[in-house]
Every structure is written in C-alpha cells, then in structure tokens.
C-alpha cells in the first residue's frame, strides 16, 4: 500500500523543523507602572492594601484576589523579610538570565501578606534555612523590572 508509493530515492521525511519567534509588547498597565517606577526611581517596594480584608497584596492589581474588593491604597513595604521557602535550581532553561545553580526563593517582605519571588545571593545553598531573614541588594542600574533588585542576601 504505502510501500508502492514510497519514494525509492531516499527515506521518507521523518520530521519537519521550524522556529517560532513571536514578539510581544506586554502592557505594564497603571499598577505595574507605578510599582516598577517606585523600584526604579526610589528603591521602594510597594504593596496595595485591601480595605476590606486588610491584606497587603503583591503583585499590584486593581483588586484583592481574595475578597474581590477594588484596591487602591499603596503601602510601602520593607525591602527586608523572612524566607518562606526556597529551591536550588540546577536546571538550565532558555532565556534564563541567571546561570544555574541558583537559589530561587519566596520571601515574605515585612509589611506584606503575599510572597515576593526572587533569588538569593551572598550565601551557600547548604546554609539556607526557611524562616531566615534576608534583605534586598539593589542594582546600580535600574530599568523597571524585578532585576532592579540584584538578589536578596542574608541579614
């Protein structure tokens, strides 16, 4: 059946290769704009307080994810906090700005009720403990992204 039509000159084409390269322009929107400008210009991390449940939220959204209330009250957070949990990433991946191994962590900043994601520096993986105190080390050159903080170091 298929054999009869199979080209005699060579094997069938087993696969086809291709690349997708899609460019995006992600809108910061009004909230991320304010949040990242505070980081870039003032080295400040801002949360938003929910007037109903009182939670101080991250990342900044127009609403409280928990009780669906509109939120608009900006609150300055400490750039210091406690390590919630962490993992040592050994796996390389495409587009990764930090070369593995590195320590990826969830940090509960003082004054916040939601975790802040970042990486740890100035510490060996074996010395990291959940609950330890860490503080942001700010980058000299800041552009309005989470990389405006280089990493968090132990206090």
């Amino acid at each position: 059946m298929l054999e009869t039509a199979k080209p005699s000159g060579g094997d069938i084409v087993k696969s086809v290769t291709g690349t997708l390269d899609i460019k995006y322009r992600f809108s910061y929107g009004e909230r991320y704009d304010r949040f990242f400008r505070e980081m870039r210009d003032n080295k400040r991390i801002m949360g938003i307080a929910c007037p109903k449940c009182g939670a101080v939220l991250l990342p900044p959204r127009p609403y409280c994810g928990f009780c669906y209330t509109p939120v608009d009250e900006w609150v300055e957070l400490s750039d210091e906090g406690a390590l919630l949990t962490y993992t040592v990433v050994h796996l390389p991946f495409i587009g990764q700005p930090t070369e593995p191994p590195y320590i990826y962590a969830f940090i509960m900043l003082d004054g916040a009720d939601v975790q802040f994601p970042h990486i740890l520096g100035e510490i060996e993986a074996a010395d990291v403990r959940s609950g330890m105190r860490v503080k942001a080390v700010w980058a000299e050159e800041r552009k309005g992204t989470l990389h405006d903080i280089k990493y968090f170091r132990p206090v």
Binding site: M1, L2, T4, A5, K6, P7, S8, G9, G10, D11, I12, V13, K14, S15, V16, T17, G18, T19, L20, D21, I22, K23, Y24, R25, F26, S27, Y28, Y32, D33, R34, F36, R37, E38, D41, N42, R44, I94, G95, G144, T145
Partner: protein
C-alpha cells in the same frame, strides 16, 4: 521622592522556541516524493474514495483510514486565488505574488500554494508545478517553487 518619567508602558518580550515535528508516514512519504521525484502524491480514502492532496493518514471528509497513495497532477486547475502586494517576514515568495488553491488532475481536494502575480492565474486556469532544482529541495511543501500557468515558460529556463 516623586516618580519620574518615563512611564513604563510596554515591556518588550518574545517567545522563541525550536520545533521538530514528527510527520508520520503519509505526510513523510508525500514530502519525500516531492523531494526525490518531483511528484505530488494524494491519499485515497479506503471508505469514501476521496482523493486528497496534500494527503493525511485519515480522511478529512469521512474519518476513515487513508492507506493508499497515488500520484496526481502535475497539471491542475486554479479554484481560487488571492494577490499579496506587500512583502512580509517569512513570505513564501517575493511580493507581489498570488496564493492559489489548485486542484491537481485526479484529485478531489485542493492544494494551497503560491503562484506568480500573472494574469494567467485565474479561476479555471490550468497550471503546473514548478519544482526547485533537485539539490535545493529539502522534503518540504516549498520544494514546489510555485504553480505557473500551463504553457508559460518557467523563469530562468
């Protein structure tokens, strides 16, 4: 500590990923026939008999197995066309060119391909495929360079 301009409006981003798609036997055989023999193979549905080009291993019309491949064309009839005036990244030909739906002789479906921007490309016109030279073919639908009006001299020959 006022916020300074510039405002942050857009973050530039991209999604870039490489793929290696398995073709399967029917698609792989069709592509190899283009490459090795400069021939178009169609799939014959074992149930409804539809002759489909390019072929899939299942009949898009009735869902049955397609296990028999047969040569169709090379000449075919233009069933529709559309003219592209402006170049774009990844275009299959230099603009202006035309997209065509060609029904090769012996087939019941149409193959999507391109054609020169030539008034001879119109609905009902007979066209024939112009294959790329053997050494430029890689086992892809683009091994057919395009379809030209039957009887026309191929460019560069």
């Amino acid at each position: 500590m006022a916020l300074k301009p510039p405002e942050l409006t857009y973050m530039e981003g991209e999604s870039r990923c490489d793929y290696n798609w398995t073709t399967g036997e029917v698609v792989g055989t069709f592509l190899a026939a283009l490459r090795d023999h400069g021939k178009m193979l169609a799939g014959v549905c074992e149930s409804c008999g539809q002759v489909a080009v390019p072929p899939t291993s299942y009949c898009e019309s009735c869902g049955s197995e397609v296990s028999d491949l047969r040569e169709v064309g090379p000449r075919g009839v233009v069933m529709s066309w559309a003219r592209v005036a402006d170049d774009f990244e990844g275009a299959p030909a230099e603009a202006p060119f035309r997209y065509v739906l060609v029904r090769p002789a012996g087939a019941d479906t149409e193959l999507l391909h391109v054609a020169p921007d030539d008034d001879g490309i119109r609905i009902g016109a007979t066209v024939r495929p112009e294959f790329r030279p053997r050494e430029q073919r890689g086992g892809a639908i683009t091994d057919i360079r395009w379809f030209v009006p039957d009887g026309a001299e191929s460019e560069g020959s």
